[in-house]
């Protein structure tokens, strides 16, 4: 499984450097760029094109689409080698992750709502979006007491790891019409 990630993240020194960066960062997140090897990235993209997406819409809570997670993606993110890397970076023993494959197109969003409790812990976003501009919206915003702590714009093939603390919640900003037919797709992992 190790060969799925870019060589940088197969190196224990690099993982320790990532861990250090995560600890230093007050907002408790780190973004690893060019996370997957290009061949893997392309392969997953080809798979996603044929994925049956299902719309989820409760107007005062969210609007987005979900899809079943391809078998090989599931295997990779539950593999000991990935979980070990994640544990090394976060300093927490991670045994299992809950995965969701999500797509946000024009008019999609999520809202912060008392009903949607977000557990604290480690989260990661593997950005499977091909191309994105900040002016389209669709970014992930982490807030605490109505104050924005982190704003994560979709960066293709990035893996963002976040330590979500108590009373920190996130939402995906409304995707506006400038996005046209572009869709933000990411794999969300909760540990």
């Amino acid at each position: 499984m190790a060969e799925w990630m870019t060589s940088l993240y197969n190196n224990s020194q690099a993982l320790d450097a990532a861990r250090e960066a995560l600890l230093k960062n007050n907002s408790q997140h780190i973004q690893l760029r060019d996370a997957l090897r290009p061949a893997i990235w392309k392969k997953w993209w080809a798979t996603l094109r044929h994925t049956p997406w299902e719309k989820k819409y409760i107007p005062d809570l969210f609007s987005y689409s979900v899809a079943p997670i391809p078998e090989d993606m599931q295997q990779f993110f539950q593999s000991p080698s990935f979980l070990e890397r994640l544990s090394r970076i976060t300093g927490q023993a991670i045994k299992k992750v809950h995965l969701q494959l999500l797509a946000f197109a024009h008019q999609d969003y999520t809202l912060l709502h008392d009903e949607l409790q977000q557990p604290q812990g480690i989260l990661f976003f593997l950005e499977l979006t091909q191309h994105w501009k900040p002016s389209w919206g669709g970014y992930t915003s982490f807030v605490h007491n109505e104050e924005e702590l982190i704003r994560l714009y979709p960066v293709p093939n990035s893996l963002t790891i976040i330590h979500q603390e108590k009373n920190v919640h996130y939402f995906v900003k409304y995707v506006n019409y400038y996005a046209g037919n572009n869709t933000r797709i990411f794999l969300l992992g909760q540990c």
């Binding site: 409760i58 107007p59 005062d60 809202l111 109505e146 506006n176 019409y177």
Partner: protein, 203 residues
């Protein structure tokens, strides 16, 4: 009489307004086109654009807003605020909406530019009884977005949008604030500005 000085006389003679308000679906509301006398509303519209505007953004919305217009320094807006918050007008609104109202309102100006929006919510907050929006932008057509949309409700959540109101100049929309009053403003998809004055009558 002050009401006649401000309001289109058609509405002062119409004794079916209350019946319309309570029976409209998916929750009590009424849409009143050409509501104010033209020569009164034109200066209000012009003065509003001279106000100071603040960018507002959250998970739920993105638009520009003024401070509460209670503190406006523009004469036309001061006059408008004085009428809108007057005992006479509030009594007229209370009768139309069959709602007990206090002598207290909120009022601010809103501008929605391209990509601005307000997502579905019910407006509920203590004191807010009747919500109002007075549209002040002209030349908005269907393809421009910016419509006010009402939802019906299922299991305490909005389910489907069942009514769309185009933002036409000098149209006043009133609706009852309740656990059912889910509404949104559709994203503006034009470079024209959607301008309005909105707020709540308190009870």
């Amino acid at each position: 009489m002050t009401l006649a000085y401000w309001i289109n006389p058609v509405y002062l003679k119409d004794n079916t307004l209350m019946q319309q308000f309570v029976s409209n679906t998916p929750f009590p509301h009424i849409v009143l086109p050409r509501f104010f006398v033209d020569k009164k509303i034109q200066p209000v519209s012009a003065a509003l654009l001279k106000q100071e505007w603040q960018e507002k953004e959250s998970d739920l919305f993105q638009f520009q807003q003024t401070f509460d217009l209670k503190t406006t320094e523009h004469a036309a807006l001061q006059e408008f605020y004085a009428f809108f918050s007057s005992k006479e007008f509030i009594q007229w609104i209370a009768a139309l909406t069959k709602t007990k109202l206090k002598q207290s309102i909120d009022m601010s100006g809103f501008i929605y530019n391209a990509t601005d929006y307000l997502l579905p919510h019910d407006d509920q907050l203590e004191e807010r009884k009747i919500a109002y929006v007075l549209n002040l932008s002209s030349e908005f057509s269907k393809k421009d977005g910016g419509e006010l949309e009402f939802f019906n409700t299922q299991k305490k959540h909005p389910s489907q949008s069942v009514k769309r109101i185009q933002p036409l100049f000098n149209t006043l929309v009133l609706f009852e604030v309740s656990p059912k009053s889910f509404h949104q403003v559709l994203e503006v998809t034009t470079d024209k500005q959607r301008v309005s004055i909105g707020g709540w009558f308190h009870g």
